[in-house]
């Protein structure tokens, strides 16, 4: 059944090549089908050996307690995109292919299969980045992404050399940690590029701020979330921690630089781009701090990640449509923007508050005082520029001769629902925390993962 999560979007993507006008109906239906399948028909734990080849030789798809919540959130975001975004017909097929690739990367248990899905995701991301006459930024992203892909490929092949298999579970079981670490370093650099941790993420500001409405929404939410899952799967579950101190320092430097850069920006697009980089860097720093098996810290980092992804999604949708235009004619967009800003600042009784307080508590308990100090300083800077932008956008002069722009109804609905979700989570944080705790308790458990693979399709 779980193969349908990849097969159905892929089949419809091919089918709609000849009928691009159908995409606006097919894309929501495909994402809705995926969500229905995930919520109603498939549950962890399931393994599919593709073509009935034993896992050691073939490709396996695996659904467990770690990737299940990620799959639901990614498909929910894609459904929201399909409702909210008035994308061009030609992009619809791409988005359906992206749905298949994201689900594939979330499900796969094979290093090379993951490389193929990574490259499909990258190719879609390059095309989305090039929209709105942004080809130069897209080309820069392509160069960074292609080097990332190459490094990942060398890492995956090295894994085959050390373990004699491309299956993640078997490779983790067979190869010694020193060998896994060498391949892991290459994969780590590749993922740091994709996760836009500075300086490896220097491609991101131009791509996020100048592309089409869809570009930052897709790249900053669904793709980032999937990459973080893949990072966690590789470096907590399969390979084990690699160069955590270096990544920790890099992520903290990236966080500080991104927040300072966000404060300095004069356009909303670039501010939000650096805000997204700062969010990803915070999660990466927290992941590195908890990489040695601190479940509480990883759960807190995941809560922060989910909150950040939803917030970034809402902010980029509003920016994409209104492009810095004020909220006087777009009250719903304004309310959603302000609610999300309040949550990001960490105002009590919002999801952002619980994300921050949980992370700080877990860090203090782990004896880490550097990241909390940086986080608190970054929160003050973030509060400063978010309040400034809220004031600017609510009180911007709308009497100018600029063309009136309104958020489409679908987009209004989605941003309001997502913003309200952050408030609801603020009152009932256990709604999300139950899932993050579950992920954190399973992500370090290699034995269960390997046993599941061993059982195969049985």
């Amino acid at each position: 059944m779980i193969t349908l999560l990849v097969a159905v979007p892929l089949a419809f993507a091919f089918a709609t090549v000849a009928f691009p006008k159908l995409n606006k109906y097919v894309f929501p239906l495909v994402t809705l089908f995926n969500l229905t399948l995930l919520i109603g028909y498939v549950h962890p734990t399931q393994v599919v050996e593709v073509g009935k080849w034993p896992a050691l030789y073939g490709i396996v798809l695996l659904l467990d307690n770690v990737n299940y919540p990620f799959l639901i959130l990614v498909n929910l975001i894609l459904l929201a995109v399909s409702i909210s975004a008035t994308f061009q017909d030609k992009l619809g097929t791409l988005l359906i292919v992206l749905t298949a690739a994201l689900n594939g990367l979330l499900l796969t248990g094979d290093f090379f299969n993951a490389f193929v899905f990574l490259e499909i995701i990258s190719a879609v991301a390059y095309i989305l980045s090039a929209q709105n006459k942004n080809s130069y930024a897209a080309f820069k992203y392509l160069i960074f992404g292609a080097i990332a892909g190459t490094l990942y490929l060398i890492g995956a092949v090295s894994m085959y050399v050390y373990a004699g298999t491309l299956n993640m579970g078997y490779a983790g079981f067979i190869a010694s940690h020193e060998y896994l670490e060498i391949a892991g370093i290459l994969m780590l650099i590749a993922l740091l590029i994709e996760l836009k941790v500075l300086p490896l993420g220097l491609w991101a500001p131009d791509v996020y701020s100048n592309g089409s409405t869809l570009t930052p929404v897709i790249l900053g939410s669904a793709i980032t979330l999937t990459m973080f899952y893949f990072y966690a799967r590789l470096f907590f579950n399969i390979i084990g921690p690699v160069n955590t101190n270096l990544v920790y320092v890099l992520a903290i430097v990236s966080l500080i630089f991104a927040q300072l850069a966000a404060m300095k920006q004069r356009t909303l697009g670039r501010t939000l781009s650096y805000l997204a980089i700062a969010g990803a860097s915070t999660v990466m720093a927290a992941f590195s701090a908890g990489a040695m098996g601190d479940e509480k810290l990883i759960s807190a980092a995941l809560l922060y990640l989910f909150n950040d992804i939803i917030a970034v999604f809402v902010l980029f949708i509003i920016f994409g449509y209104l492009n810095g235009k004020g909220f006087k004619d777009n009250t719903v967009a304004g309310i959603a923007f302000s609610l999300v800003s309040i949550s990001l600042i960490g105002f009590p009784l919002t999801a952002g508050f619980w994300a921050k307080i949980n992370l700080l508590t877990a860090l203090f308990e782990a004896g880490d005082y550097i990241l909390p100090a940086v986080l608190l300083a970054a929160a003050v800077i973030q509060a400063g520029y978010l309040i400034k932008w809220n004031v600017d956008l609510w009180y911007v002069d709308n009497d100018s001769e600029t063309e009136e722009i309104y958020l489409p109804f679908g987009a209004q609905l989605v941003v309001l629902l997502f913003a309200l979700a952050l408030v609801v989570i603020g009152f009932m944080p256990d709604l999300i925390k139950a899932y993050t705790d579950k992920i954190a308790s399973h992500i370090f458990d290699f034995k269960t993962y390997f046993d599941t693979i061993l059982k195969g399709g049985m």
């Binding site: 090039a130 292609a146 092949v157 085959y160």
Partner: protein, 114 residues
């Protein structure tokens, strides 16, 4: 020996990407890296004196090179060609938007617009 060739080519490609101001030359450098990686992967499965991995009457004993890296390289080549085509399309668009594919000239053109 063939590993060294692959690593030297990767070095040449990386140098090209970092040092060249012309985006087309950067793209060529990227394809050099791609090719180098493919050579590296194929070389991993090579066994001295072994046959091509095809069962036939001239190879009754399966003294084969490892076929898996070859299969991986085939996929990697296809993906590489796709990315190369995409990058070429982007270069054409860059040339149409900025009138050049040189980084400094693009920056100068952008400053004029701003």
């Amino acid at each position: 020996m063939i590993y060294y060739i692959a690593f030297i080519l990767i070095g040449v490609g990386l140098y090209g990407i970092v040092s060249q101001k012309n985006l087309f030359k950067q793209l060529v450098s990227l394809t050099i890296i791609d090719t180098a990686v493919n050579i590296f992967i194929v070389s991993l499965g090579y066994l001295d004196g072994a046959e091509a991995p095809i069962y036939s009457y001239v190879t009754p004993v399966a003294n084969f090179v490892d076929p898996l890296p070859q299969a991986l390289v085939l996929t990697a080549i296809v993906i590489g060609v796709g990315i190369l085509a995409l990058a070429s399309m982007l270069l054409i668009h860059i040339n149409e938007e900025h009138g050049s594919v040189d980084v400094e000239e693009i920056r100068a053109a952008k400053e004029v617009i701003e």
